[in-house]
Amino acid sequence: MLHHKARVHVVIGKGGVGKTVVSTAMAMALAAEGQKVLLAEVNAHDRVAALLGARPVGANMREVLENLWVVDMNPTDSIHEYALMTIRFEAIYKAVFENKMIRHFIRFIPSLGEMVMLGKLWFHEQEQENGKPKYDAIIIDAPATGHGISMLRTPSSIEKIVPAGIMRDHARSMREMLTDPKKTRLHIVTLPEEMPVNEARELEAAAKNVLNMAVGTTFINQHVPELPAEALKKLASAKNQTDLKAARETLNIREAKRRAGIEHLERLPGRLLSDLFTINRIVGPGLSRQQVSEIAQKMLKARSQGASS
């Protein structure tokens, strides 16, 4: 997992496949290795903080665990930050960006807010402390497929419409960061089910044809382990079938679904299969910090094995 030197990790996939869990576990794993990690959510109501049992962070970045900083970006605050960096005067910012019309326009064309959120990440990627990068890794828990793709292509759209100037320079820097395989990887999260696999395929194609981004690790979430075939056979040949019938039916459905899931995963493009990380399905009420940390432990193990092999 993550066997490359990229520092910017964009985690993307269909809605509900577990992007936040993967991003959080990845951040915990890298932080446990001693890396300084920034984990950024996009307008996500502080889901990471909730998962870690921490109080909300909002738009003000905070070190939530040792070496792990979390921020939940939103367009309004990011635009404020960005504008102040460029124009330097709060009074001018207020006159311009608190203008009703401008606020309205930003809401109407969400891409402007998205570009500025990417800009914030680009800024932190560039940020230095004591002569070296402030963060060793920046993880972005991206919006779901369609919205995520449109966010990631915002810099190149802006480059096309904006004439030479500060904004175009910034857009170009962001585009260059995202499209440099040594700097940025797109990690796709999916489930062993039809639609999440379709969207993973769509994302892979978009990475190649639209975004020009390098893919990294593919995360298969909610994997259901195979039941021992021998045991199922023994149950099938047992004499007392009346009491076992319903149970066998359920187990068979579970196995059939698992096999169908594997067939779907086989439709993933080859280059998504070369770097896989699988996470077992967790059954129970909600996901605890402990469970996320267990996933992080497995990631750490996979990384140390990958490094030695």
């Binding site: 809605g15 006159a95 311009v96 019309m101 021992p228 009491d243 149970a247």
Partner: protein, 375 residues
């Protein structure tokens, strides 16, 4: 027997993402066509799920017939034609501008605007607007007995109904801000917009984004304002159609607590807006028919005994499946307790992935007999 669509011309399926809305929409359409209604199902989903479920390749804004031979192998006999249409947002938007612009010049001004070209498909509400636009067109054509609309996933049921008014608002606010009156659109007023070059706003934005961009932006706003009357008219017609008795909303949910909460919010939004919820569809309800501890003890006694390891794995699987089914049953009960006067359609989780024609055929009968609310 009262079918879900009885007395309706339009069924709108709404719900958050990931609840199987598209599958439900397609199953309703299959059921209606099988019972003799000339039906079309329209989807707007950007991930093109329905195309997948129907085994069709990429297509946009075209009414395609699903031949009866496609469903026959699964035991469904269509008594009337079944059509499907996938929306292409960009195409719909461009068409709309063709139709609504007051002159060819105004039309070209928008279509050629760089901001429009780059951002029209991601404009807030563009997706939703396109759905409403196509729905109304197809409805007005009178070609179908029933239209089933699969709405884009959203956090708010009436997002898509409000899309035209968002556009109207945008134009109004933009215009007021720049001291324009929507009634006096087009032509010479554009000059005034470009006049604001001296203001701090355009100076600052110009410094950040370049003067040309501000010009494009102004042009875009002026040109877009030209569509005001069109948006207003369309909004009025859509609003009154959607609130009429011809339209029934179907809220699709799963038994999960967060989805149920979202469904309740949808329902309140609809009621507040004067729209009628026809039914709530609870999708993918898991079920088991065994008592875990009883099965576990039976397993201990079988002739060819399981190894300790096998037994542990089987036991855990049985517990997990029972837990998941129990979770769904509790969710379903909570949901039914919360709902009054709205019929609930329960759909089981299917044996196979619920996205192919067989699944549609397995689900479609659930919609044939939907009780009317008791009061």
């Amino acid at each position: 027997m009262t079918a879900l669509w009885e007395g309706r011309k339009i069924i709108v399926c709404a719900g958050t993402g990931g609840v199987g809305k598209t599958t439900v929409s397609a199953s309703i359409a299959v059921a209606a066509a099988a019972s003799g209604l000339n039906t079309i199902v329209m989807t707007i989903d950007p991930a093109r799920r329905l195309a997948n479920a129907l085994g069709l390749d990429d297509f946009g804004n075209v009414e395609r017939e699903i031949g009866p031979e496609m469903l026959e192998p699964y035991g469904v006999k269509l008594k009337a034609p079944l059509h499907v249409m996938m929306l292409d947002v960009k195409q719909t938007f461009d068409n709309m501008i063709h139709n609504m612009a007051s002159s060819p010049e105004a039309r070209d001004l928008i279509l050629r605007n760089k901001i429009y070209q780059q951002f029209s498909t991601v404009l807030a509400g563009a997706l939703e607007y396109a759905a409403v636009e196509m729905l109304y067109d197809v409805y007005a054509s009178g070609r179908y007995d029933l239209i089933v609309l699969d709405t884009p996933p959203s956090q708010n049921a009436i997002d898509f109904l409000e899309a035209p008014s968002k556009m109207i608002n945008f134009i109004e606010q933009s215009s007021n801000q720049w001291f324009l009156k929507p009634s006096a659109i087009a032509g010479k007023l554009g000059l005034r917009l470009l006049d604001v070059g001296a203001s701090i706003i355009s100076k600052t934005l110009g410094k950040m984004a370049g003067g040309e961009t501000i010009k494009e932006l102004s042009q875009f706003l002026v040109a877009f304002s030209d569509l005001y009357d069109g948006f207003q008219k369309r909004y009025d017609s859509v609003r009154s159609l959607m609130g009429s008795d011809e339209v029934g909303f179907v809220l699709v949910t799963s038994t999960q607590a967060n989805q149920r909460a979202a469904m309740r919010r949808f329902q309140n939004d609809l009621a507040a807006g004067g729209f009628k919820t026809r039914a709530v569809v609870v999708n993918r309800i898991r079920q088991v028919h065994y008592e875990t501890s009883a099965v576990q003890s039976v397993i201990k006694g079988i002739e060819d005994p399981l190894t300790a390891e096998e037994e542990a794995e089987i036991s855990q699987a049985l517990e997990q499946e029972a837990y998941l089914a129990g979770q769904d049953q509790r969710g379903l009960q909570d949901l039914e307790g919360e709902l009054t006067n709205i019929p609930v359609v329960r759909l089981p989780e299917l044996r196979l992935d619920a996205h192919d024609l067989e699944s549609l055929s397995m689900l479609h009968q659930s919609f044939l007999n939907t009780e009317e609310p008791s009061s």
